[in-house]
């Protein structure tokens, strides 16, 4: 059996063991899994890796296979362990020729409509204060943006940096809500195994 075949055939039991190793609480383990995966993807992308998603998943699969061997002896930050494995995966990636990834930033009409519909729904779910803040924060064109945000911050009695942080946190909530809205059946991390 080839290594590639072995990687594809990650068994559910290995994945469950991985989650259990991350945290005994399944909910917290799932959240931690998502955060680790995001870090891996972000770092790989920053390194210019055109297969960031695939290498991140490969990293997680390798860790999952090794949990049975290391869970009793590994001491330290578990997330850091992923970073080490990822470096190995990335080195292997650099040694093999990879076709450049073509990025298509356009979106079809259907997707566009779906996103706008989800955005409306998710905006309605926001608390009135959050909704008003995000609307005002984004209601700015290129030139007026800075001044307007200073005005908003002054009105709220906070620093512009604090305003930015609050607005981006709401923006992040919207992002999560929209992604769930567009893929309601997706139930990560359990859905990715196998």
């Amino acid at each position: 059996m080839s290594a590639a075949k072995q990687l594809r055939d990650l068994e559910q039991s290995d994945f469950d063991r991985l989650l259990n190793w991350l945290d005994e609480d399944r909910e917290r383990a799932g959240l931690l899994y998502e955060r680790i995966r995001w870090r891996l993807v972000t770092i790989l992308a920053s390194r210019g890796c055109t297969l960031a998603d695939e290498l991140a998943d490969e990293t997680i699969d390798r860790v999952a296979r090794r949990v049975a061997d290391i869970e009793q002896i590994y001491a330290g930050d578990k997330a850091i362990y992923f970073l080490g494995v990822m470096n190995n995966v990335h080195h292997e990636y650099l040694r093999r020729p990879v076709a450049p990834r073509l990025v298509d930033t356009s979106e079809n009409v259907e997707t566009r409509e779906q996103i706008h519909g989800c955005l409306d729904n998710c905006l309605d779910r926001l608390a009135p204060y959050s909704r008003q803040l995000i609307e005002r924060y984004y209601a700015a064109d290129k030139k007026a943006k800075i001044d307007l945000r200073k005005v908003i911050a002054r009105e709220l009695g906070i620093k512009p940096a604090t305003l930015r942080l609050r607005a981006l946190r709401i923006r992040e909530k919207l992002q999560t809500c929209i992604e769930k809205c567009m893929n309601p059946s997706e139930a990560r991390p359990l859905g990715r195994a196998g």
Binding site: R35, W38, R39, V41, T42, I43, A45, S46, R47, G48, C49, T50, A52, D53, D77, A79, I80, F82, L83, R101, V103, T105, E107, T111, R112, I115, H116, L119, D120, D124, Q132, I134, E135, R136, Y138, A139, A140, D141, K142, A144, K145, D147, L148, V151, I152, R154, E155, R164, L165, L168, R169, R171, E172, L174, Q175, I178, E179, M182
Partner: protein, 292 residues
């Protein structure tokens, strides 16, 4: 360590990391911090969203835009982020030019009719207004019908060339006026006073309905006039029901006196007038009266 790392990397450095612009030393330290510092991780996560928003809003330089496409848009997750950035930009950015002032923007945010709540409220308001208008219309129509005078059929204003032909067709012959004249009503009313003339016979005497306690009778006197008068009211059978004397003229040739209505219930009555001049008495006239 974590706090130190958080201070080490500025927002500008984070953006360079996302665009793949850090050198090897910076990259290594950055990656390690990303794995051990949760607060720093959040900063990077939010900066990733902001970078996507800035790209959509055309707030990146030309070089940054190129890096964004080549080094940032490498994952499906980031592509989704970019789509959401575009949706947000489409939704909100065009409102800026209208409302820059804070208070004005607050108001527009509150009265943004694109909100679902406003859509429902507007629909409800329209429905209520329609109902009210309908109710008002129906009520007004009813009031109009109640106050409407009976419809009158007016004769055509145009005169015919031959009115007789138009109104009396030649083949029908002259209409016979078969309807009998109605019996003229008696002179009735709530008469409390009556003027009588001695020249009026019983057949033409006025008929009255008594009301009140007394009937004021005014007699038209004939010449020669007397100093005083005496009256005697009798029934058709000659029974005296009322009498008075020493009556004097009230004005000119009129003599007035009151007769209790209880004395003259119904029937024909005769008033015999006697003129008195000193010791001399003479008949001054007879008056008739009918009571119903």
């Amino acid at each position: 360590m974590a706090a130190a790392n958080q201070q080490t990397f500025s927002d500008e450095t984070i953006r360079r990391f996302l665009l793949g612009g850090l050198n090897a030393t910076e990259q290594s330290g950055f990656e390690h911090s990303l794995f051990i510092d949760e607060a720093f991780e959040e900063r990077v996560r939010l900066a990733e969203l902001e970078l996507s928003d800035d790209y959509t809003a055309n707030r990146l330089s030309h070089a940054e835009r190129n890096l964004f496409r080549q080094r940032f848009l490498l994952t499906s997750d980031r592509e989704t982020k970019l789509h959401v950035s575009k949706a947000l930009h489409d939704n909100f950015a065009d409102r800026t030019s209208i409302a820059r002032s804070g208070s004005w923007q607050t108001l527009t945010g509150l009265f943004d009719f694109r909100r679902h709540a406003w859509k429902y409220a507007f629909a409800t308001l329209t429905f209520i207004l329609l109902l009210l208008a309908t109710a008002l219309l129906v009520r007004k129509e009813r009031a109009h019908l109640v106050n409407l005078p009976p419809r009158r059929v007016l004769p055509k204003p145009s005169a015919s060339a031959n009115p007789q032909r138009a109104n009396h067709p030649p083949d029908s012959g002259a209409p016979t006026h078969n309807e009998s004249s109605p019996i003229l009503p008696l002179h009735e009313g709530l008469t409390t006073s009556i003027v009588l003339d001695a020249a009026t016979p019983l057949e033409s005497a006025p008929t009255i309905s008594t009301s009140g306690e007394v009937l004021t009778v005014q007699l038209m006197l004939d010449e020669p006039l007397a100093e005083s008068y005496a009256v005697n009211v009798t029934t058709a059978g000659g029974e005296s029901v009322f009498a008075a004397d020493a009556l004097t003229r009230t004005e000119g040739t009129t003599l007035g006196f009151d007769v209790p209505t209880s004395s003259i219930k119904s029937g024909n009555f005769q008033i015999a007038l006697t003129g008195v001049d000193g010791e001399v008495k003479r008949a001054a006239g007879t008056y008739y009266l009918r009571v119903r």
